[in-house]
Amino acid sequence: MAKTIIKIDDLKREFRMGDEIVHALNGVSLDIHEGEFVTIMGSSGSGKSTMLNILGCLDSPTSGSYEIDGVPVNSLDRNELATIRNEKIGFIFQSYNLLPRTTAIENVELPLIYNSKISSEERHRRAVEALEMVGLGERLDHTPAQLSGGQQQRVAIARSLVNDPVIILADEATGNLDTRTSYEIMSLFQELNKRGKTIAFVTHEPDIAEFSGRTVILKDGHIIKDEMNTNINDAARELAALPKEAHE
């Protein structure tokens, strides 16, 4: 059995909206093991964003326990959570969230800047490696404005890889991209997964979920379905099958 990266048990998260209490997560239990590629699906309001925020240590649960890489997160303060995010988690956002007017390499170096154990040479070396891994080794000094949407997301993926996290959390990472570019990105994710990266991918597009090994579906704060995908679609093959004119 592979190592358990994420272990959550009876997780609840409530929000107070005026007089009403909204149960965004209402008793969720989930384990994610090393090397898994999990998609978390659900319509808007299903609690998937809340779940991702908690998994990413950006938010704390109201009750229930959460362990990441063997570290119980519940009792940690703001600074300790920041350290966990810095060392154990790689984030990818729908809108890339790259720093404008800042080169690709500097964007990728960003997480390591907040880790004073890493020297600037080491930081640079790892950032180049990460950018090469996502196929942007030639564009180290391009700013986001000089890159296409897909390339920007690749930079963001490189940024999520650079601290060698135990899990990559992607929030609608293909949401802003066209079909071809989405498939390119998914193909990259599959490749990273093959190299042993653990990935949790939040989406609401069912065809994207077909590329992952496991699908978790949330509804009204509960997990209503959690199943292994026996027939994993290959993004590279889908990409090849797309009509050429779809891409300019």
């Binding site: 925020n53 990413g56 950006l58 938010d59 703001r78 600074n79 920041a82 350290t83 995010r85 810095n86 060392e87 984030f91 956002f93 969230n97 720093l99 007017r101 800042t102 960003l110 997480p111 800047i113 907040y114 880790n115 004073s116 020297s119 600037s120 940024r159 601290n163």
Partner: protein
């Protein structure tokens, strides 16, 4: 820790470089503030020093003794008409005062000086040879009259530059020539070095010096003296000398108990204090105004840091999501504010120096840049950066990463 701070400085520097124009405009307040504080202090210090020098050049240890306002049957008399100072007062001071280096009686009159076809209205001062030591005046040519000449009431004179120029228009050497003052002939035995105009607008070269005995007898026909001029043995002893003089003169004039003095003793020290305090007040006022512009500069920094934090809310959210701690964000913005204010301060110091040089060079005002003005304004700058940068930075660091990431 060192690498962490270094990294944060790099981030802050980058933000500054990316917003050059805005940073420069923000700095402008600080630049103007610091530059004006330095320039104002330089002007204030310079005018204070020039007053001090001016007064010192008149003899910093100099003490003037004049007849005082005396009540005679309830009528206050004009001090210049008083005849309360006598030669024996001078002799008493000369003999008894231990803190006086030089002392001379002084009588003066004005009139017309004539040399052939040239004439010039001027003043004649009757003094003894010690007068030059008291005033710290030099002779350019010839010599001062001697005590023997004073005793014999010789008709000899030493003239100032203005008098020399006006009576000897063709540039001939005045020494050895005869001139007439109010129809009394005087032989010129010396010419004073040029002194220029005093701070009070008086031409110090428009003067004729002659033995006081001669002036008393030949010109004024009086037997009293109008004033006594003395100098203390040192600047520190000036006040002691004033007290000593008062005591001697009170005894001479038989003034006892709480009776008012019939003379006045002024030391240059008092003059310096009076004039310095005026210029000091002016300096304080100027610096206060300059400080206000520094304060406004600080508020400018706070304003721009607020905008910057607001504008970069998503960036802050991103930085937090990849592991920046609250302290990292706080320091980043604080360092940015300090960098803006300190570099503004450096430019301000440079500008303050140039403004001061300009004022000195083109307006001819005396200026002195003191190191404390540079240090103080620079320190105020750094403190301004911390003070006004703190609140926006604190606000940035307290942001919730999720909210910040979603901020549009």
């Amino acid at each position: 820790m060192k690498t962490r701070i270094l990294n944060l400085i790099k981030i802050a520097l980058k933000a500054i470089v990316l917003n050059k124009m805005r940073t420069l405009l923000t700095m402008l307040g600080i630049i103007i503030g610091v530059a004006s504080v330095i320039a104002m202090l330089a002007i204030g210090e310079g005018s204070k020093q020039s007053i001090r020098d001016e007064i010192s050049s008149m003899g910093s240890n100099m003490i003037n003794i004049r007849p005082g306002a005396d009540m005679r049957g309830g009528v206050r008399m004009n001090p210049s008409e008083m005849q309360s100072l006598k030669l024996k007062d001078y002799e008493a001071l000369k003999k008894e005062a231990s803190l006086l280096a030089y002392v001379t009686p002084q009588v003066s009159g004005s009139g017309q000086s004539i040399n052939g076809a040239n004439n010039w209205p001027t003043s004649i001062y009757g003094v003894n040879p010690e007068y030059l030591d008291i005033k710290i005046w030099d002779l350019q040519d010839g010599s001062m009259f001697t005590n023997a000449e004073v005793r014999s009431a010789a008709k000899v004179a030493v003239i100032g530059q203005t008098v020399a120029e006006n009576l000897f228009t063709d540039g001939e050497d005045p020494v050895g020539k005869m001139i007439r003052f109010n129809s009394i002939p005087f032989k010129i035995i010396g010419v004073l070095s040029e002194k220029g105009e005093s701070n009070f607008g008086q031409d110090q070269d428009d003067v004729i010096l002659a033995p006081y005995t001669t002036v008393q007898k030949r010109i004024l026909a009086i037997d009293y003296i109008q004033s006594i001029v003395a100098s203390a043995i040192s600047e520190e002893d000036a006040q002691g000398a004033v007290d000593e003089i008062s005591a001697i003169l009170r005894e001479q004039h038989d003034i006892s108990g709480n009776q008012e003095d019939d003379f006045n003793v002024f030391s240059m020290d008092e003059l310096i204090t009076t004039f310095s305090s005026t210029s000091e007040m002016l300096t304080v006022l100027l610096v206060a105004i300059a400080s206000i512009s520094l304060l406004i500069g600080g508020i400018g920094i706070m304003n721009i840091m607020y905008v910057s934090v607001k504008e970069r809310t998503r960036e802050i959210g991103l930085r937090m999501s990849v592991g920046a701690k609250g302290a990292d964000i706080l320091l980043q913005f604080l360092i940015e504010a300090i960098l803006i204010s300190v570099s503004g301060g450096i430019i301000g110091v440079i500008l303050g120096f140039s403004a001061t040089l300009f004022i000195k060079g083109f307006l001819g005002w005396p200026t002195i840049i003191t190191s404390y003005s540079v240090i103080v304004s620079f320190a105020v700058c750094a403190v301004t950066g911390i003070f006004f940068g703190w609140y926006p930075a604190r606000k940035a660091s307290a942001l919730d990463p999720i909210t910040a990431l979603r901020y549009e």
